[in-house]
């Protein structure tokens, strides 16, 4: 039940973001589904492995791979799907709490949340890197 609820919320949130970035109208729903799936996978994997970094990694990986598949299927640039899909995963809350701890001069908390935020950002980057290098090498093999 919780998964369905968070899927709907992140679906709506991602569609709103795609409108801010002005994605084409016919791919709004697809980006919404991508964003929703990313968040649900993040929740599921975070529970499974008990670490938010792993969850974010798998979520970014699925968003990247699905984005590339959608891009080749509908003949659109992959970034159209990946940019709004990745937005839900950006650790905005982590950055905010790091900043808050710094303001309150709780430096231990700041370092704790700050390092976690940096690791989450790195996990997202690695997920995207893996998916797009995979798609590139597949395209190169197919092209030959």
């Amino acid at each position: 039940m919780e998964f369905i609820k968070s899927f709907i919320f992140s679906f709506c949130g991602t569609i709103g973001f795609s409108i801010i970035f002005k994605t084409p109208r016919d791919s709004l729903i697809k980006t919404g589904i991508l964003g929703g799936l990313g968040w649900v996978i993040n929740l599921f994997m975070t529970n499974l492995f008990n670490s938010p970094v792993t969850g974010m990694f798998f979520a970014a990986l699925t968003v990247g791979i699905l984005g590339e598949i959608l891009a080749t299927h509908f003949k659109k640039p992959a970034t159209i799907f990946i940019i709004p899909g990745i937005i839900t995963l950006v650790p905005g809350a982590g950055m905010y709490y790091t900043m808050l701890a710094l303001i309150k001069k709780e430096f231990y908390n700041a370092i704790k949340t700050g390092t976690e935020t940096i690791f989450i950002a790195a996990a997202i980057a690695i997920g995207i890197i893996l998916s797009s290098t995979l798609s590139k090498s597949i395209k190169r093999v197919k092209g030959k």
Binding site: G16, I20, I103
Partner: protein, 292 residues
């Protein structure tokens, strides 16, 4: 190909070296009318390709896609012997060779406003241009038409963008009242940032102001009783300022080997993120000291 063209240039300047000999043989190359037309067409083609690239880059495409588009558009015509393009987020350099003459074009990119719909449309346009026998003049008019398109109305962007901010505040664990207040806050934030963008304010200042307004209004709404968790309202209403395009493009540029653009895009994302943190921190610092 490259050696052949070098030899050609050498032949053109041969008479410089023959100065000492008594009868310098000056080779004059006559171009047929068709070749002359092709040279002219090649210049137009380069202009068209760089303009296409600059529109793509301004609307948030990755640099390797822009380079690829320029090279493909130029190579699709048979009279072009060699093309190369170097693209960074702040400028495009492209040169091509036609009938032994090199033409170069530099285009500086200053403003960036994100519009992924235009990237998609121009991607389709370049594919059509490569596969068909379109003239450069026709291509120019089509490009101008695409550049005039308005993908979304401003009101749509404000309303849906703030709705998404509201959904994010719930997603991060907010309650029903937080939804309403972060919706109201981010309407004002998005309107303020668009107004600031109209006056060409630098992106640091506009993000700083956006974050400051967001946290100030969130504190106000929280004090008025409209909202349960102040943190969730602030996080939700800060989300529309997150530099998603720069983050994604920085990663994708770096993997595809464009380290310069990857670094500069990453720097942009980092500066925007720190601007948001400064803006929100500025207001929160005042708030925690009990001045509001």
């Amino acid at each position: 190909m490259f050696i052949k063209s070098l030899f050609f240039i050498f032949k053109l300047h041969k008479f410089d070296n023959d100065f000492t000999s008594k009868n310098p043989t000056i080779e004059v190359i006559y171009l047929t009318p068709k070749e002359k037309f092709e040279q002219k067409e090649a210049k137009n083609l380069l202009l068209l390709a760089t303009r296409t690239g600059s529109i793509m880059l301004q609307n948030g495409a990755e640099t390797y896609r822009v380079e690829d588009t320029i090279v493909r558009m130029c190579k699709s015509r048979k009279y072009i012997q060699a093309v190369d393009a170097f693209v960074t987020p702040t400028g495009i350099f492209a040169s091509l060779e036609c009938q032994g003459e090199l033409t170069t074009n530099i285009q500086r990119i200053k403003s960036i406003k994100i519009d992924l719909n235009k990237v998609d449309l121009i991607n389709n346009f370049s594919r059509k241009f490569v596969n068909s026998n379109m003239s450069t003049k026709q291509g120019m008019s089509e490009l101008a038409k695409i550049n005039m398109i308005k993908s979304y109305k401003q009101a749509e962007i404000v309303i849906y963008g703030s709705l998404s901010a509201a959904f994010f505040s719930i997603l991060f664990g907010g309650a029903g009242l937080d939804f309403i207040s972060s919706f109201l806050v981010s309407i004002i934030v998005i309107m303020c940032t668009t107004i600031l963008a109209k006056y060409d304010v630098s992106f640091f200042i506009s993000n700083f102001c956006g974050a400051a307004i967001a946290s100030l209004l969130s504190i106000l709404f929280f004090k008025m009783g409209l909202g349960e968790n102040m943190d969730k309202i602030i996080i939700g209403s800060l989300m529309p300022l997150v530099p998603g395009v720069s983050i994604t493009n920085a990663i994708r540029d770096t993997i595809s080997g464009d380290f310069v653009s990857g670094l500069s895009r990453g720097m942009e994302a980092f500066v925007i993120a720190s601007a948001i943190a400064f803006g929100a921190g500025f207001i929160l610092n005042i708030y925690f000291k009990g001045m509001v």
